[in-house]
């Protein structure tokens, strides 16, 4: 017979710095180490690439930085939310992805990451690494690799190569 303790997943206890950000009134967090830069919306170019724009509707802009093309995902569309007022771009580290958010708040340390309860069964299982509890408030910690997954990045890379020739990402 399994004990109650065995049945109950324990939160991961590693401490981690996260950046709190807001989208459509919701507070979320992203690993601080996953973010290379936070900047305003200057320099964003509308993304239009034939059928790919329709295929990846959450991808709204690109950003050129130091010879690298970043694909900027609208976080509100990613999370299927409405009523967003984007003003900041989080440029991710080690991937050609930017994330358009309403605002960024503060860096804080979380001491535990709770698994998303298994009752949540839809897209959110890919969206989040888990849930942090900060002063009694639940803040989802996003899976930054899900803003543009490997297949979507491959599609983009191939599309841009077709249009421009070789692109550095």
């Amino acid at each position: 017979m399994r004990s109650r303790k065995q049945l109950r997943p324990q939160p991961q206890a590693a401490r981690e710095d996260v950046i709190v950000f807001a989208v459509s009134g919701f507070k979320l967090a992203i690993a601080a180490g996953a973010v290379k830069e936070i900047r305003g919306m200057e320099g964003l170019q509308p993304f239009t690439l034939g059928g790919i724009s329709a295929q990846i509707a959450k991808l709204r802009h690109t950003l050129e930085r130091n010879g690298t093309t970043y694909f900027v995902v609208d976080a509100a569309r990613h999370f299927q939310l409405q009523g967003a007022h984007p003003s900041r771009v989080m440029v991710l580290r080690n991937m050609p992805t930017g994330v358009l958010v309403d605002s960024t708040d503060r860096i804080m340390e979380i001491s535990a990451l709770h698994a998303l309860p298994p009752a949540f069964t839809h897209e959110e299982r890919g969206w989040y690494r888990g849930l942090a509890v900060v002063n009694g408030q639940v803040v989802p910690v996003v899976n930054h690799g899900a803003f543009l997954n490997r297949a979507e990045l491959e599609t983009l890379r191939a599309g841009l190569e077709r249009v421009r020739g070789v692109v550095t990402v």
């Binding site: 109950r8 919701f26 299927q80 309860p117 298994p118 009752a119 949540f120 849930l131």
Partner: protein
Amino acid sequence: MIAEGDKSYVLFPLGEKRFALPAETVTELARPDSVQTFPHRTPLLTGVLVRRGRIVPVCDVAQVLVGPAAPPRRFYLIANCKIGARQELTAVPVTGECELASAALTPLTGTEPPYISGLLAMGSETVEIVALEKLVCVEATA
């Protein structure tokens, strides 16, 4: 009078109707607390509660059991729910106070939805027993 062999159930109201959960699955009746929400796409789940350091999903079964016209929920019945291989606490918003009762099962008529696991005869009232895990699974895959 409780007949020998009768099982205990927690009866909970959703508007005018009452439903039942097996008493052994219910851990707590909680006062209204702040449901915390975050973006997700799973039907029926309205958010989570933090109870004693645990994160408990809130499953608004009233939407399925009585429809959108259910009155405001006043309490949370927290019950164990088997999801996949795991037992998880799940908070069920209810519209009034609950009652512990014992009664014998009456046969299903065959017309009930799959998430009704039995019927209780409580005087002139027939109370449906809710199989929470089936209700969550049916809606999650809908």
